[in-house]
Structure formats: structure tokens, C-alpha cells
Symmetry: D2
Subunit: 335 residues, 4 copies
């Protein structure tokens, strides 16, 4: 029996990536898509790469109707708006994977400080599983609601959490320098992401103030069992897709070789996480749900390098992986 | 009287950038160009962007002949090979700006360790001015030989040296995470810099082992008066030009505001170095000799961001600026 | 039973694309790969995007051994060299899909004129099926050897052939202006395809002399039943993948609407060819085996626009599609 | 005495290019800039690449005030709006170079048909010089108002007009297939020119309906003395700058060699137009006011290829060139 999947908020790049991945999925199918702005069109009119491949109509969201049609809904709305919709959907008994940040953090206070809004459903903060099957597959299996991870956090938590758990590195001296493709900035019309603004250019943004910083710290703490402090700097890089995080850590006696061994052991059964000997490039994982990781000694630091595709493992691929876990399919189905 | 300029090693991108800049220079002119491989062609056959604009013939290098024709020679050869040619040219009484690393470091031992060759002219190590007019204009004015700075070092020395000199930051806890356009890798045919290898991708390389690291440390020490240790990671970024260096330093009591003030004072009379309030992008300085710098507080660190064009201020523009100083022209002539 | 697939000439981009597509194929698997230059490495060392996903070893080609291991071999060698290897493989009773131009043309004289070499196996010229299942599925089904189409020809034959067959357009006044991504130029180290040579630039090449011109003319003739003459200009475009062909034809009484109807009828049962109302962009088909086509009236001409991915429908995707037909699988399996 | 230059409509890419070029101009200086939306900022806040280099404040347009401050005004407003402003400025006795299409065409009817608006100052249609100094230097010298040419038309008129004038080609069988960088689409926030929409993609647009088609036909007629008909297809190409026009013409007895000779004679005294033997790439002219042209025989056609930078020779560089002519400077001053 094929899983019936719905998308709420179908106009953006993560929604397109969900649709693209579902076209290749052997056991799941896109059956519904909603967007206030584009009601009445087909999804292929919004995303011309789907022409001749997918003709799901775009509708205005009606949670009760959508819940009837779907086994699972991917909610691709902005934070704040998303939590309310998730609540309505779950009230109508459909399982939800939420792409926003609304249920990722463990503390309401941290959420409200960094996101500047009152949380619409605070009861679920700290009681929603974080959708990283590499650590939380058990809880994801039975969840009604999964908080799909942020793109930058995925690229930092996977390398850091096991090293903190094994106490291989200092917890209070971590620098995460990340470089992201432009699709991470979304598909709304802004001068700042016009082609001629960002092409042939690289720039830092949100220095010391990006909302993914508390998410990284929170999750590494929850997984690794130790509070950490880190400095995080994201950069906008002239490419569609990909995140490369270069992470500077201070060893507690060990070295890059021990880091690689720790990862090899930790991720031995994880089909998407691969410690590699070469220096990973974002191109090596582009369009896939794979993660490439390496470590190098450099002076008094160890440099960790992690490459993911921000739209796949950093968003929609992770959501499919979560869906697979939720419905008892192999994690790799369709990926 | 127009300055007569020669280029040795005319086939690469830095040579083309010298030729491009000289076309706009009011007091200097390209009069000769050499390359073993392309003898007999015109420079516009090697660099079609010069068609109809410059028709200097490519010749095989004859140091005596070249010295007669030129007031100054830009030597764009690889390290090792360059030092020998510089010696021959200077013996024939022409002033030389050397683009290689051969005369940048203050210690022969450091040079031979990092470059893996015996130095062909060790007498001049430690006795050649480093071509950063922001600090060494006096010595450049009278020099027969100028060591033109490396591209990455320029982007790190300019922000760091004054902060070390003023003891605003810790000297032994510095991380330089740099992102460079592909032109920095040169114009020889290699699979690694083919379009389809590096386009739509970012990757670190030379982690912990890049030769520009000792150059940064050496110069910050010489200018700032204090030994430093740093970790340097360069990244290959999908763009033609530009370097963005994101530098993580630990303040000694101060903050980003004091860093900006220190720079404003230090560079008040430097026409190419501009502390800015926005976060600089490489596009803001592309094709120019300008440097944009900013500082931001972030947790227990200060994040410094410096943008240059690797081919201009990072190579050929700096060479023109040095030439201007050597011949008593305004630093900005033709730039 | 899973099809066992081998690749000869495993270092290039078409080989990587075959490997990538096979990873998602439900009924076929890469079991062997050869390359003289890289013998002893694994395929993931040559193509780091395969790390952790595929570890087939690279061997030196032994046709007898390879034929034993495989049900079908994808031969990714250059023209001339390819024909000889195809012959050896077929002599050992394995079916072959040839990526070179060696068996595409119907005339030995045309081949030898345009490719400048004696044909190593002239008996098979004119007696090898052209691997365009949209027209030749019957013959492909039983073929021991399939000539996989050229990338540019695919983008011109699909729109033109039905219009010639239906006599909707003049046969002797056709202009094909094509724009290709850089991967079409291959993966060997050449200055001309270095990133900094082709990035931020578009240029024509091979004007009036490109070898895909006779292939287009030959196939449109064979399919459409009428000799045609055309002018073909390829352009190198700063992107990894994709071909957009803008084709100027002169109508014989009809218009763009009739062209669209002709295509809709012709390709009604072809899963990969989609006439669309929008103007197709190469991005709409990137990474897929799909073809988007449209037609517009413009003065006394009709302008046809066809978008494909040069590595997928223009090479490796077409090969998988051919393999599917050869072995009785649905054309869309794994695509 | 330095020329005082003003810009009306300072937020776009052509305005930035004017400012960039004036920074290098020995005899002209930017003294004023206006924009309704950005009143009160400095121009460097709108265009961060000007930081530390130009601090002209952005004001709301007051034609009388601006006319007092300036010797010449570059009017970078959209069509319709531009004509009104040009009239007010000229009424206040300042000379104007208009970047819009408002005064380019020789017929009011054609203008109103293609632009869909009533013309605000129809008296000047057909009585305003077209700013192509290669043909109209005399009239530009004394003009109060110059209609700066469109980018695509520049790339088609320069190759075509002399061939029509010399009757080397058929006038009614011309196809212009043009490829433009994205800056031609302007700097307003639209989904269609977001980085992730146009990067790694090429597409045709405005097939058979682009407004530059009548401009090309009109000017070739006026210069060449013969009515022509042409089909024009523009394409959006993933690069910041540049236009490559590939033009298919039918010879009247001659060939590519004669075309090259015709151009060499026509443009012998034009410093920016260079017939070249190689196939020009847009990169060869990027950031310059230069034009590279070549011709090749191909079947029964001659293929003309013309490369310009759309922002320089296609807009702001042409405006500086026009300004130079208007004020008796060498055409090449500052270019």
C-alpha cells in the first residue's frame, strides 16, 4: 500500500525537493499540495520541472480535508505559522513532519528569545522528537509530529555530537564556519538573493546572531550529554545547493585519527553518514541525502569538515528519511 | 615620461591582470612580455580579451635585453624559478617586483621547509621588502626588488597586524578561514580546476598545510611585534575572483567597536583599505584594489571579515601599487 | 534477477552519470568498471561522490572476463577506440551500448570524412540501431549493439523529425542554435575548460564544422523520410549540465499550434518527451531523462525550443532507457 | 575643468556601472544622484562596492536643482517615466543621456505599439540622435538629448548595418539569436531572477515579442538604407554580464571573408569595435566598452558572432562614450 503524502506550503524549494524525491520513491506518492497564493494552479505550473511528471492541484489548506487524503503531511510553512497548522493537522489525526524551527528546541524561552514570537503550541516544546534518525530513530517511529532539523544544524550536530559524548574535544571552544548554497534563503522575491547580487561573490551574514546557533548547541547538549558553547558564522556561497561546515575544535588529548574512529563506530549502521579520507566538497553530496565527514589535525586544533546538500539531507531528504522510519520502511527507500 | 613595464611569465591570470590594469594606467605602459611556451605569438593571442587593445609580442626571456627595454619587470614565475630570474634581472639593473613567494619570508629555513627546495638566492632572504605599502612604503620606494604579497596573507595581515600591535587580541588563538575564487589556482590544465569539478561546489584544501600560513604568521610578527600562532584553512569557492577571510580572534578585554577604531586610525591614510559597517562580500571589491574590513562580536570571540580581489589587491593590483610607490607616483595611479 | 552492468572507460562524466543512475535502479546494478589509467583504484576514488555508495574496483579491460561478468556493457570510450572494443565485447557475447559516434551514422564515407579516421568495423555501419527508443524501440529490443545518440542530435532530432515526416516545415532551411553545459566537453585536463576560462562567459565553437551536424541530418532523414539541410552552431554555456536548442524553421503553411499538436500526437506514449506551454529552461530537466519542447510563431519562422540534460537524456540516461528496452523492463525503470 | 555628472534613478545596475566608470574617468566626476526610494542614504549604502570610494548622497529628484549642479545627466529611469524627466531636465538647460527606449525609435506609432503607452514627448521622436558614436558622432556632439542604445540592438546593429549598407547580405532573411547575462533584467526583486531560478540554466524568453526587435530593424534601416526583417530570440544566460549575438544571414554572393573586410574598413577608426579571427566569448569583453566581431561560413549561411558587455558597451559605457563625444573629449576617455 502506497503512502499518501501531502505538502503544505508548496511554492518553495523544499516543497519542490519533496516532490522530486517522491517521484523516485517506490512506496510513497504525492497526493495533495496546498498554497494560499497559488490555489487553482497545478504544482507543475509553480515548478515547471514537474511538467509531465506530476499534476497534483494546488489547493487552499483545509486541515480536515487534507488529513483525510494523507497518511503524512510535510509542513513547509515559516516558523510561527507552522506550529498552528501542525496542531490543526494532528488534531485531525494525520502524522506531520514540520520543516520549521517551531518544535526543534527544548526550551520555550530560548525559542521566544531567538524567534521573537510567542509560541502557538508551547505544550509540545521539549516533547517533540528531533528528526535526526541517526540518533532518534526509535522515537521517530512512533511520533505524531517530527521536528525536521535545520540545515546548518545537521551539518554541525552530526560531526560534533559523538565527539562531545566521548569527551574527545573541549565543549566550550568550538567554531562552526559554514558555507551554504543560495537555495537556503528561500524562494521569495528579495533583492538580496537576486542572481546578480550573490553570483561571483561570497559573504558572511548573521554573524553571532543566526538562529541555528542555539539549535546546534541544544542538540549537541541533548545528544552528547554536555553543555557546549560555540561561535557560528554562516556564509552565502554562489551555488544552488550544499552546505560545507568547517569546524574548529580543541582536542582533549586525542587527534584527527581518533575522531575518524569515533565517527566510524558511531555511524557504522547509518546508511547516509560516511567518514571519508578525502576532503569532502559539497558537489560530492549534491542532490543526495548523503553526508561526508572528515577530520584533520592543524596546529593545536582539529579541523572537522562536513558536507551535506542543504535541500536534501538538510531538509527534504531528511523528511523522507523520517517518513520512512515513521512508516516502517527502510531508511533509504527512495533516497 | 611613461614607465616602461615588462612581464616575465605572461601566460597566467596574474599577467593578464597586470596587462589589464596597465591599459588604464596614465603613466605606465606594457612594453615587453616573455614566455617560453608562447614565443612568437602576440599577447592578445594568449589572452583574447586584449585583442585590439594590446599587441605586445611574446618573446623568450633574455634578461639583458629585457632590462634595457624596461624600467620595471613584473616576474610572474613559480617559486624557485622566480628567484633565479629576479637575480639575473637585478644584475642587469632593472627593478623587479616578484610575484612568487621566494623573497616573502624572513627565514631561509622556513622557506626551505615549506617550499621543499633550496633557495637560489638566500642572501636576499630577510633583506627584501614585503610589498605591502600600507606598512612598508618607505622601503618600497627605494627597493630594487619587492616581494609582492601572497593573496591569502594580504587578507589576513591587514586585519590582524594592527590588532596584534595594539595588543587588542590574543596572539596564540587565531583562526583564519578563507574562501578564494578559482583564479588563485592558476591557469595550467589540471582536472581539479576544470569547470565541472569546482562549479556548484565548495571545498576546503590544504588544511593545516598551506604555505601561506607561515607567511601570515611571519608578517604579523614583523609588523605587530609579537609572535603569533594561527590555524589557516583555505577553501575553493565557485567564482572567478575574490578572497573572503573570516577570522576568529579572542579579545584581550576589548570588542568589535575597538577593533574598528584601531583599523580606522591605522588605515586613515591608506586609500585602498576601508573599514565598513556592512558585512563585506567579495563582489564589493571585485576587479578593484580595494579592501573592505569589518568586525563583529560573537560570543567570546570577535569575528573579523576581510574581502579582497585575489587577482588585484591579492596580486597584480598590489604590484601596480608597489610600482607606483617605487617610482614616486600616487599609490592610486591607474587603480 | 538483477541485470549486471559494466562500464568501459570509467573516469569520465558519462560513466559517473551511469553509476549514479544505476544506484537508483531497481533491477540493475553496476558490477564492473574498467580504465587503463586508474587500474587498482575503486570507482569512488575516481568519483568521490560515490564514496560509501559504490565500491566497484577499476580494472584494466579484459573483454572476455568482462563479458562473463556482465549482461550489458556501457562503452564510454572515444570514437575509433570504441568500435574496436565493442567488436571484441560482442564477439564474447555480451550486449553493448556504445556512447561514441562510431555506429550512429548510416554512411561509412560520412563517418570517415567527419571523424578523420578509418572505421575499425565498417560492416556494422548502417546496420546498428540508433538508440532513440522514441523511434526505434522495436529494433533496440533485440540488438546486440546500440549506438547511443549524441547529446546535441537528441535535442534536434526529437523536435524536427516528426515535423519533417508530416511535411509541416521546409526541409532545406533549418537553423539549430544550441547551448550546452560544460560537462559535454569531457573530463580531460584542458585549459579551454578550466573554470576561469568558461565561467561568466558564453561562446560559440565549431561553427559550421561540428560533427553532430551530419548526425542530425542523417537521423532526421532516416526518421522523417526526407533529406534535410541545416546549419548548426553549438555554444559553451557556463553551467554543468543541460542543452537548450533553439531551432528556426520555415513553416509550409502551418504554425506553432500545429507543431505542438504534431508533437503531442507523436509523443503521446513516450514517457520522457513533454510538449509544454512554457518556454523550457535547462534547469527544468536537469538531472532527469526528460525532454521539454515548445514552439512559438515569430515573423515568418516558427521557433522550436527543446531542453534536455546532456548527461542524462543526452547520454547516460538514454543508455539506461535503451538498456531497459533491451531487457524488457519499463522504459522508465530507474529513471 | 572636470565635467559634473548626475544620475537619475541611482539604484539599478546601470547607475552603478556609470558610477564605477566615472571613478576611473580623468575628466568627469559623479556629483549628484537621485532616487525616490532611497532619499537620504549615500550611494555607497545602496551599492556597497562604492564604500570608501564615492559618497554622493541620494536625493529626491528636483530637475531645476540637478540642472544647476550638472553639465550632463544620465537618466536611468524606465520607459515612459524617463521621457517626462528628460523633458524637464532639458527645459532647465542641462544635457541628457537617456538610458530608456523613449527616444530610440523613429516612429511614434511603433513606440506606442511595442511599449503600450502614450509617448509623453512625441515631438522628439525621430528628432533625437541614437547614441551610437560609431555612426552618429557628428550629431551626438551637438545634441541636448541622446538616446542611449539598447543592449541587444548594439550587438546586432554593429555587425549588420554595414553589411546591409554594402548589400552583402539579404535584407529579409536575418535571424538574431542572443544570449544575455542576468544584469540585463535589472535589480528589482522578482522571483524570475532569483539566483536559484536562473543559475545553472539557460532559457529563451520573449520569443517573437521582445521590444528590442523593432529597435534593431529601425536602426539597421536608418544606417544601412534598406528595410530589413528579422527574427530575434533573447536568452537568459547564467552569468552577470555580457551579450553574445549569433546572427544567421544569407549572403548575396559573398562570404565570411568579405564580411570581415567590410567590418575592418567600416570600423577602422572606431576604437571599441574589433573584428577578430577567434570566436569571441563574452568574457573577452567583460567590464569593457569593447566589441568583438567575427564571421564564419556555414552551409548556405554566414554566421556572425558579436560579443559585448551589456552593462558597458550595452549601456553605461556607451553613455560615457556619448558623453565624451558631447563634450569634445576623446571617445576612449575613462574607458
Amino acid at each position: 500500500m502506497t503512502l499518501r503524502v501531502g505538502i503544505v506550503g508548496a511554492t518553495g524549494y523544499t516543497a519542490l525537493e519533496v516532490a522530486r524525491l517522491l517521484l523516485a520513491h517506490p512506496e510513497a506518492e504525492l497526493v495533495a499540495a496546498t498554497s494560499r497564493a497559488e490555489d487553482g494552479k497545478s504544482i507543475a505550473e509553480i515548478h515547471p520541472s514537474l511538467a509531465g511528471r506530476c499534476d497534483v492541484p494546488i489547493e487552499t489548506l483545509d486541515p480536515a480535508e487534507l488529513a483525510k487524503k494523507c497518511d503524512v503531511v510535510m509542513c513547509c510553512l515559516p516558523h510561527g505559522a507552522s506550529a498552528e497548522t501542525c496542531k490543526q493537522l494532528i488534531d485531525h489525526n494525520v502524522r506531520v513532519i514540520d520543516f520549521s524551527a517551531d518544535f526543534r528546541l527544548s526550551s520555550q524561552a530560548t525559542y521566544e528569545k531567538w524567534y521573537g514570537v510567542d509560541h502557538p503550541w508551547p505544550e509540545r516544546i521539549g516533547k517533540t522528537v528531533y528528526g535526526l534518525p541517526e540518533f532518534y530513530a526509535e522515537q521517530i517511529r512512533d511520533a505524531d509530529l517530527v521536528a525536521n532539523p535545520g540545515c546548518y544544524p545537521t551539518s554541525a550536530i552530526l560531526p560534533l555530537a559523538p565527539l562531545i559524548a566521548k569527551q574527545l574535544i573541549e565543549a566550550n571552544d568550538i567554531i562552526v564556519d559554514s558555507k551554504s548554497g543560495v537555495s537556503g534563503a528561500g524562494r521569495s522575491a528579495k533583492v538580496g538573493t537576486l542572481y546578480c547580487e550573490v553570483n561571483e561573490s561570497i559573504a558572511a551574514y548573521g554573524v553571532g546572531s543566526h538562529r541555528h546557533q542555539p539549535e546546534m548547541a541544544d542538540l549537541v547538549h541533548r545528544i552528547g550529554g554536555q553543555e557546549i558553547s560555540l561561535v557560528f558564522t554562516p556564509h552565502l556561497t554562489p551555488m544552488d545547493r550544499g552546505i560545507l561546515s568547517t569546524i574548529y575544535v580543541r582536542p582533549r588529548g586525542g587527534n584527527a585519527k581518533q575522531v575518524m574512529e569515533c565517527w566510524r563506530e558511531q555511524y557504522a549502521d547509518c546508511p547516509f553518514v560516511t567518514p571519508v579520507d578525502h576532503l569532502p566538497a559539497t558537489k560530492h553530496v549534491a542532490g543526495t541525502n548523503h553526508v561526508q565527514l572528515t577530520a584533520r589535525d592543524a596546529g593545536d586544533r582539529i579541523v572537522l569538515v562536513c558536507a551535506i546538500d542543504n535541500l536534501t539531507k538538510g531538509a527534504s531528504g531528511a523528511a523522507i528519511q523520517n517518513m520512512n522510519v515513521m512508516f516502517g520502511l527502510p531508511q533509504t527507500a527512495g533516497l
